[in-house]
Symmetry: C2
Subunit: 542 residues, 2 copies
Amino acid sequence: MLNPEILFQTTPENYKHWKLQLSGPVATLSMDVQEDETLAEGYKLKLNSYDLGVDIELADAIQRIRFEHPEVRAVVITSLKPRIFCAGANIYMLGSSSHTFKVNFCKFTNETRCAIEDDSLHSGRRYIAALNGTASGGGYELAIACDEIYLVDDGNSAVSLPEVPLLGVLPGTGGLTRLVDKRKVRRDRADVFSTLAEGLKGKRAKEWGLIDDFFPRSKFDESIDAVVKKNLESSSSETGIKLTPLEFQSTDNSRDYKYVNFKLNREQRYADLTVYAPEGPQPTNGNEIHELGAAFWPLQAYRELDDALLHLRVNEPLIGLVCVRTKGDAETVLKIDEALAANHDHWLVREIVLLMARVLRRLDLTAKSFFAIVEPGSCFAGNLLELLLASDRSYMLKDSDATLAVSELNAGAFPMSNGLTRLQSRFLAEPEKLDEVLGEKKSFDTDDADDLGLVTFAPDDLDWDDEIRLAIEERTSLSPDALTGMEASLRFAGPETMDTKIYGRLTAWQNWIFQRPNAVGEKGALTNYGKPTQAEFDYKRT
Amino acid sequence: MLNPEILFQTTPENYKHWKLQLSGPVATLSMDVQEDETLAEGYKLKLNSYDLGVDIELADAIQRIRFEHPEVRAVVITSLKPRIFCAGANIYMLGSSSHTFKVNFCKFTNETRCAIEDDSLHSGRRYIAALNGTASGGGYELAIACDEIYLVDDGNSAVSLPEVPLLGVLPGTGGLTRLVDKRKVRRDRADVFSTLAEGLKGKRAKEWGLIDDFFPRSKFDESIDAVVKKNLESSSSETGIKLTPLEFQSTDNSRDYKYVNFKLNREQRYADLTVYAPEGPQPTNGNEIHELGAAFWPLQAYRELDDALLHLRVNEPLIGLVCVRTKGDAETVLKIDEALAANHDHWLVREIVLLMARVLRRLDLTAKSFFAIVEPGSCFAGNLLELLLASDRSYMLKDSDATLAVSELNAGAFPMSNGLTRLQSRFLAEPEKLDEVLGEKKSFDTDDADDLGLVTFAPDDLDWDDEIRLAIEERTSLSPDALTGMEASLRFAGPETMDTKIYGRLTAWQNWIFQRPNAVGEKGALTNYGKPTQAEFDYKRT
């Protein structure tokens, strides 16, 4: 590994690139990228350009606002640099990164932007992009993930997507999709805008729907204040909880959090990942949950799972398969789901369930294979059943006391990116099975689960070890690229949404371009950016 | 160019690989690929494997059945080879083809399979895949494009998608998408099936929804007959027309059909393509249209346009931009649309309009840029207005007598792959403009068109030549790959369908894989298929 291990945990006190300012119902997130504080060698983060480290802080800030500052109703995203909002992903970072890293970088930044929209849609916080200077590339893509966009009118500042004309790649952090699908910019105008390196300024940008309004520099701050005020109709007097640091112990081949652990089988290129149910009595009402805060099992366990998934994605590229197990008392997990369902009106419960849903989508979008392994002592129940449903396959030991169980939350609390529940997606051909599975709220033994189609295979004790071993060996021997493309096609049957378009269509094209000689070859546009040499293209098209 | 020019026209008398047998309401299309009759050197088409030449015949046969044999209500697709239905795309052909050719090959075969579904959906012909032997890879993908699939049960014949396990690529001709979205196979079963080189036979294949039924060899023919009979509820006594050969004159840099011509500006890497309106009186009722047959302008002009687009895609990869013009009397075009709308119940009119829609979708899916150029004397009216709406941009000369005009057909006769009309797609943000544009049924001069948002730019006479020249120069200087990814993202705003998933998501991943070292590198799976050497993978995943 060229780069040191990347950590996904941070806290506002440790931010290098963002300032989080809180003032009652308004949070202001100001970008002030420190050009030397990079995640790797070989580039400087000039002009508020970003690398993964900058985005990890942004993702953390958004998450913390949701949990620690529920009183916030509007988030202003702006910059502390004069004349520049954000120049997007750093080109030299992209140019010097491996294909794998570029893919991971884009996926994480996409998830961060989708998390902004998730907060806006489900928790009603309004995100306001206050572009006090030029927003180009990923800078404008960050703005377009917000609810409203305001640009300073100083004769100079513009919004732009210069990726195609300058770099020969795509505005692949959702930019192209959000342009036509979210802001519904006319496709011919989107075409012009996306090939115009210098972008568009105030009046025309507004006319084309790229921004909501523009204000002169002298009145910019007060105009933003006025916009914010308009967005503060609702108020909230809730008190947040503290997202305490996740603790874990690790070796070269393992990591143990409190409720999650994984062990890497490096030679065979797979990981064993286990999620543990909690023990003892669990809270049943909002106050008790609030008191427990970050230590409440669903919050802690899913934050740990999130961290583990990100670690495996970015720091363990050679691990191609994750075998998912659960351990503990299914009844306790179901009781927790009951409490979450009963208190869904409580702001903290809502945020916890939304976070669980985001983590499960992170799993859906992880380009590694997942096999769920159901053995005696497991607890694939309620929210943990989603881990099995999210897996590419499941194996359940026959004639054992292993069971699966559903809860109310399996009926809609954890939608996939395509808007369906994982059960809906599984039973597209037999929607009547949904009622059967969800109706009786009981647990299913291996025969039931097999009959209903909840598991893929149910080998008996005699075959179990061999079957699992062979399945793992076979999976990890296949082309990792073919598996990635296959899983991206099979996991999301049914409708498509803006999110799935971003992760499926746009990302796939970006990944294609990210290895084309026209981008990354010796004469490619990305390779030659900022050099005296010019890109030379192979102009073939189909 | 390594390969000789590929021609897309053929006739049943010239088929090398298919037999088309007609028996009243039943057509039987039998695959009997001649292994030496390849489009290029270096491979043999063993076991009913196919190259582009085989698929050009299939596409032609389906088109001819629709126009020449409207009495056909059921099409049986089967094989004349013992024990093998079809082995899919020829691997050695894929292994020895350029990336560009692979992309073109997959797109065309996808369009052919979508044309089968288009015929089934809109014209009610039932397609029955009679798998008298193993259908693997593209062979099964052809079957899955049919309405029903029946497999011989001989202890040997199977359906399979061995691309991932054997070749390190995807079943990218719609296979993965149709598996979960059309046949709604459970995603974990689809995962197992798509990694199982040997595939599945009779009973299990049926249980998993991969086939509709299986019959023993001794009863296969009679069972298929019985299935066909069940599908012959409706009957038709219409008489077809003859799809006469398209004639054209060509030079190295031009091609002139009767109503379509193009001129290649090779140095500047763009083409000027012009569609001409017909002259003189046009038929107004079904009988007159039937009498004219293939000479009726919409049929002839759109068949010519189709042929021209395919030629540009496959034989002219260095042409990156097509400037589209129309010439002639807009009134005549509108009169034709009126006749088509008035006679939409006539089978031939229905087939003509459906063909026009398919050709326009072929344009939407062509990975070259399109600019519409509206000058005096043009006739972007009704169906020809779709050419402008399908273009990435349009330029209309100000203060001239150039006009645009709509007809009833712009309101729904030519849906894009995403199910929207091009006007709906254009006015996603302002659906009220649809009424404005469609309501008055008048023609729009440059100011109207500009105000309504029907055109992108309306330069005046003084700027016209420079603006067009600069736009062309700029477009053709950009990275062709970035443009392809950008256009694939901007052209299809709004909903996604199975078709757009196939052309967007699945195809993008396949294209990605088609240039990964794990597939096409020295140690890639595609490169090493059938050789004593084995593939060696870089196992990184994200």
